[in-house]
């Protein structure tokens, strides 16, 4: 019995090691049903023993033939792109990462954008309107890094730049935005996933590529290595010959550790960029999977869920009548005195959160509602539109509150930023309510473009500078009673001209010089909160 088992295991291992599934016929098709487990010498004439004669074990299960594995074979264009990618990555690391994500980062992105576009562009493959908008937005977003020093705006701009540029590159490579509500996520994430997956193969493809029957890349590298000893002799001579060159090389050697780290990082980044570009250009799009017919959530469940929410919002709208009709004043606490400041201060961020929750509810309804031939049932459409309209009302209220708040207490990044976010949200809600009626409207692509455009506007107008200027001007004109110097200080470089301005003004006002200097110093370093 044990001998039989050992023999079976050996045979099975042999079957697993063989290249093709053993129980396929000569054409590679599976044997007919009922014949798969036919023992040798039985009724099946097409039977082929997996590991020669003497096999008596059960037959392994049938495995469908797999599509051939994707392999990268580098051509001339790829070989030209590889050193360019190395240079672009080195510049990106030097100017972008080491340059604190300022103008150098924008320049590195611009060069990478042009290089990658030149590599991916194909004849007769024009990118669509949406991809063109995304490409232009990504370029405009890179300009934000030249303008502002605001960290949040640069951080979110970098994310938006990544998304929009991937859409542009994918479109250049001939890949179309897949259908479906969530198609956008895969469209942006897949190239990044492929880049990580194909990194080793891309490097291998570059080094094993043959040009004229010979491998050129290893020989090119050998040439570079052989040039190093000669450079060691030439560079010191050039340094002695010229002072400027001497200074340049000396400065490189002074920060040798930093330069070495930059080079190392470039070498790590290059395979990623190569794999990203190669997989976009060469890897075919996965075959369209047949859309699964999801049953979706029962309409009664979804309608009751959204109905309760809508009822709650209806009650809220009713309570707002106080502000217009005095008969409803009984809702308010005793002793309440209406003031704009109180009205403005209360509830702005709560309204923002409700708008966010409503967007999620509406989006999940569109995703998971049970549909009749792709159409959302009428009752859900009505409830969805009500929630969308209610949210637009909330957004308008929140914006009005915010404007009042700014007029009374000045401008801050948070106040303006959240208002801009609300404007973007309003456009997305408009798209979501359209989606209830038109299947072609897709919410995520609209959201990506809207948020990118808003970030672009905030970055190009330099939000920090606008806040500093508004507060400074409002203080000078008497609109604001106090000027928060600590907040100006926290605005960073954008606040500096106005801090300097306050110092100049105070100096003109007969303030003793020594006192003025100390006040300037303390204001510059944020040790006082408010000016007199």
């Amino acid at each position: 019995m044990n001998e039989n088992n050992e023999q079976f295991n050996r045979v099975n291992q042999g079957a697993q090691q063989s290249d093709s599934p053993p129980n396929t016929t000569e054409n590679g098709t599976p044997p007919p049903v009922g014949e798969a487990n036919t023992p040798p010498g039985g009724q099946n004439p097409g039977y082929r023993p997996p590991n020669g004669p003497g096999y008596y074990g059960p037959y392994p299960p049938y495995r469908a033939p797999q599509p051939p594995k994707f392999r990268i074979v580098a051509d001339k264009k790829d070989l030209l792109f590889a050193p360019a990618a190395l240079l672009l990555c080195a510049f990106g690391v030097f100017a972008g990462l080491w340059g604190t994500f300022q103008a150098g980062f924008a320049a590195a992105f611009l060069l990478m954008f042009l290089g990658m576009s030149g590599y991916l562009i194909k004849k007769g493959n024009a990118p669509g309107f949406y991809a063109t908008v995304c490409g232009l937005l990504s370029l405009a977003l890179s300009g934000v890094f030249v303008i502002t020093s605001s960290i949040p705006i640069r951080f979110f701009s970098a994310i938006a730049m990544t998304c929009t540029s991937i859409v542009w590159f994918s479109s250049l490579a001939g890949k179309r935005l897949p259908a479906g509500e969530l198609g956008m996520i895969g469209y942006v994430a897949a190239p990044l996933g492929n880049a990580i997956e194909e990194m080793p193969q891309s490097v291998k493809a570059v080094f094993s590529a043959r040009s004229g029957g010979k491998r050129s890349m290893p020989k090119a590298l050998l040439g570079v290595l052989c040039a190093v000893p000669v450079l060691c002799a030439v560079i010191p001579l050039l340094m002695r010959a010229d002072v400027a060159f001497d200074g340049m090389v000396s400065s490189v050697f002074k920060s040798f550790g930093s330069v070495a780290l930059q080079l190392l990082l470039s070498l790590v980044l290059t395979p990623f960029v190569l794999a990203f570009a190669f997989s976009l250009r060469k890897k075919p799009a996965p075959p369209k999977a047949e859309a699964k017919q999801r049953k979706g959530l029962d309409t009664a469940f979804t309608a009751s869920f959204m109905g309760i929410l809508s009822l709650c919002y209806l009650v809220y709208l009713f309570s707002q009548l106080f502000y217009f009709v005095s008969a409803f004043a009984g809702f308010l606490p005793t002793g309440y005195h209406f003031s704009f400041a109180e009205y403005a201060r209360r509830g702005f961020f709560e309204l923002c959160m409700i708008a966010g929750i409503n967007l999620l509810v509406l989006y999940f309804m569109i995703l998971f509602a049970r549909k009749n031939e792709g159409r959302i049932p009428g009752v859900l459409r009505a409830l969805g539109v009500f929630i969308a309209l209610f949210t637009l009302f909330l957004i308008a209220t929140a914006l009005a509150k915010n404007i009042m708040y700014i007029e009374n207490f000045g401008m801050t990044i948070l106040r303006v930023g959240s208002s801009a976010f609300l404007c973007a949200l309003a456009i997305v809600f408009f798209a979501a309510s359209l989606r209830c009626f038109f299947r072609k409207v897709r919410i995520l692509p609209v959201a990506v473009v809207t948020v990118s455009a808003v970030l672009c506007v905030l970055g190009w107008m330099n939000l920090n500078a606008v806040c500093a200027k508004y507060n400074y001007d409002a203080y000078r004109s008497g609109k604001l009673k106090t000027l928060d110097l600590e907040y100006m200080y926290n605005l960073g470089e954008e606040g500096v001209p106005y801090l300097a301005g306050t110092r100049k003004r105070r100096q003109k006002k007969t303030t003793p010089r020594s006192s003025c200097i100390s006040r300037f110093r303390s204001s510059m370093t944020g040790r006082t909160c408010r000016s007199q």
Partner: protein, 61 residues
């Protein structure tokens, strides 16, 4: 080299305050906001070089 208060923070960045450097700012660290900050501080720094350290801190912190 140290500041008057004995600290050494932002000494490298201090180089950028020199007028000859401000004319040709480094691409890697350039931004419109930073340039405007330099220009606003320029008269003050010329008048009171003691502000250097504080100005360096406010820009490069």
């Amino acid at each position: 080299m140290k500041w008057k208060d004995g600290s050494e923070e932002y000494l490298n960045e201090y180089e950028y305050f020199k007028p000859e450097r401000r004319k040709y700012p480094r691409l890697t660290q350039f931004s419109v906001a930073r340039q405007e900050a330099y220009e606003a501080l320029d008269p003050l720094l010329t008048e009171n070089p003691d502000f250097m350290r504080d100005a360096a801190e406010i820009i490069f912190r």
